[in-house]
């Protein structure tokens, strides 16, 4: 692990937790850095809704197959175990776990992943979600890397709280609900933009984010304006 890159990453994440930051944008940055710093091939942040169902808040790639792999873990898989136990779940070789998680292992294999790590997102005495890391190559995870991954999971949790500090509610349930709804908005926008421009879901996301950055606006504000059709957004086909 490159120490300099690591330090730079945490500085970058801290810099992005400014007063008016956008949660989805931030968590996507965090999953991207998981890939860059930890040598993961894919990463996702999952939050539990009030039914205890894990829902994807951000992923290093917005393609349907990867999101499916995260969602599938509501039935079985390392992320669900991590969420339930509140402890990290580290699986260096998924092919040995086919009996433990038959569906998950098959689907992960089809997507080209053979090793996986899930780190709990803890808030006081509650587990609110998990950070999920996938690797294409099997083999043990570097223990130092696991510590860093846990630190990144903690940053993700902090961002959830930070997001709402400027608003009224300080109640966790409500904070999570609002966070999950902001993700639903992004999915709706991805659909609309992908269809309009004839692009895939990942490009729809990065196009939207690129537009927001170029115009110095929050991702969710642009998303809302785009789906409502309430203002012209040149470049987004509207």
């Amino acid at each position: 692990m490159n120490q300099q890159l690591l330090a730079k990453t945490f500085v970058e994440l801290a810099d992005n937790l400014v007063a008016d930051f956008d949660l989805i944008d931030f968590l996507r940055l965090l999953t991207d850095r998981c890939v860059g710093v930890l040598g993961a091939d894919a990463a996702g942040v999952l939050l539990a809704d009030r039914d205890g169902e894990l829902r994807v808040m951000a992923a290093s790639d917005e393609q349907v197959r990867l999101l499916e792999l995260f969602q599938l873990q509501n039935d079985e898989g390392p992320c669900l175990e991590c969420f339930r136990s509140g402890s990290p779940v580290i699986v260096p070789d998924l092919s040995r776990e086919a009996e433990r998680w038959p569906r998950f292992v098959t689907t992960a294999h089809r997507s080209g992943f053979t090793a996986v790590q899930a780190l709990p997102m803890r808030l006081r005495d509650e587990v609110v979600g998990a950070l999920n890391l996938f690797r294409a190559a099997p083999g043990p995870f570097d223990p130092a890397g696991t510590l860093v991954a846990q630190a990144l999971a903690d940053v993700a949790t902090i961002s959830l709280l930070q997001q709402r500090s400027s608003h009224r509610s300080t109640i966790l349930n409500e904070q999570l609900q609002t966070a999950l709804n902001s993700r639903v908005l992004i999915e709706q926008v991805k659909g609309k933009l992908a269809e309009r421009l004839g692009i895939d879901m990942e490009r729809a996301f990065t196009t939207l984010r690129g537009y927001a950055r170029a115009h110095n606006r929050r991702l969710s504000d642009v998303a809302r304006a785009f789906v409502d059709g309430s203002e012209p957004l040149p470049g987004l086909g509207s």
């Binding site: 169902e53 409500e174 908005l185 709706q188 991805k190």
Partner: protein, 250 residues
């Protein structure tokens, strides 16, 4: 939906109210069930819109009715803030000075009407936000985390019932006959498909949500499966062909 989960439990409570009333489950049943389950005196629900007039839809009692009308007339109050912010506004005690500053007219009028605590919960699915559920109590009241989670679940069910009411009259099976099997799992594809339909049909996001669900109901298919077909381009909606398809196998 998770058997034994919160949403399932809330749905049963609402269905019981509907059965008692002798009708199909609707937003009024959500209000009465919420009042029975939570430490509140009454509940009301208003249809809200950024572009059209907002209006009260139902309420369980006179005080709730007054609260709905007050907020919409004055254009201020927890319900208005909840709608604009897209997050719950919880007011355990209207008698605190800060709140009286924020809603100068509403706070006094609400106290006068007999409300002391007001909780406003936005109905929303991403960009879709058709209204707000308001709960009030006659005494200062704090909802504990469990009660708040229940209140949010009532609001979610109200959202679906309100939007599904628009399917009526299109020839689909009655909501009461459908159950809520599609509540299971918040699949990202359902939200993506909703966005895709806004383009394919040239309609707003609310309407796209209704059309996607109507399509699934009429064909007796799972919503998640229909959505996956839309996202994978196996199923395409068109503004002209859709009415024909809707008619041929129902």
């Amino acid at each position: 939906m998770r058997p034994g989960g919160r949403s399932a439990r809330i749905q049963v409570l609402v269905a019981e109210q509907a059965a008692r009333r002798g009708g199909r489950a609707g937003v009024l049943d959500v209000c009465t069930a919420a009042v029975a389950a939570l430490p509140v005196g009454g509940a009301g629900l208003s249809a809200m819109s950024r572009t059209a007039a907002s209006h009260p839809l139902c309420s369980t009692d006179d005080i709730s009715e007054q609260l709905e009308e007050l907020q919409l007339t004055l254009g201020e109050g927890p319900c208005v803030d909840a709608f604009l912010d897209g997050s719950a506004v919880l007011t355990p005690d209207l008698l605190t000075g800060r709140l009286q500053d924020r809603w100068a007219v509403f706070a006094d009028a609400a106290l006068e009407a007999g409300a002391r605590a007001v909780f406003a919960l936005p109905l929303q699915v991403g960009a879709i936000s058709p209204g707000v559920l308001d709960l009030y109590a006659e005494v200062p009241t704090v909802l504990d985390p469990e009660q708040l989670a229940d209140a949010l679940a009532f609001a979610d069910l109200a959202t679906l019932l309100l939007l599904d009411a628009r399917i009526d009259g299109t020839g689909g099976p009655a909501p009461a006959d459908r159950g809520f099997e599609d509540l299971d799992g918040h699949r990202a594809e359902i939200d993506q498909a909703t966005g895709i339909l806004t383009v394919q049909l040239g309609i707003g996001i609310d309407e796209a949500f209704v059309r996607l669900r109507a399509h699934a109901y009429m064909r007796g298919r799972r919503l998640a499966d229909v959505a996956a077909d839309v996202v994978a381009h196996r199923l395409r909606f068109s503004p002209h062909a859709e009415p024909d398809r809707a008619g041929d196998d129902t």
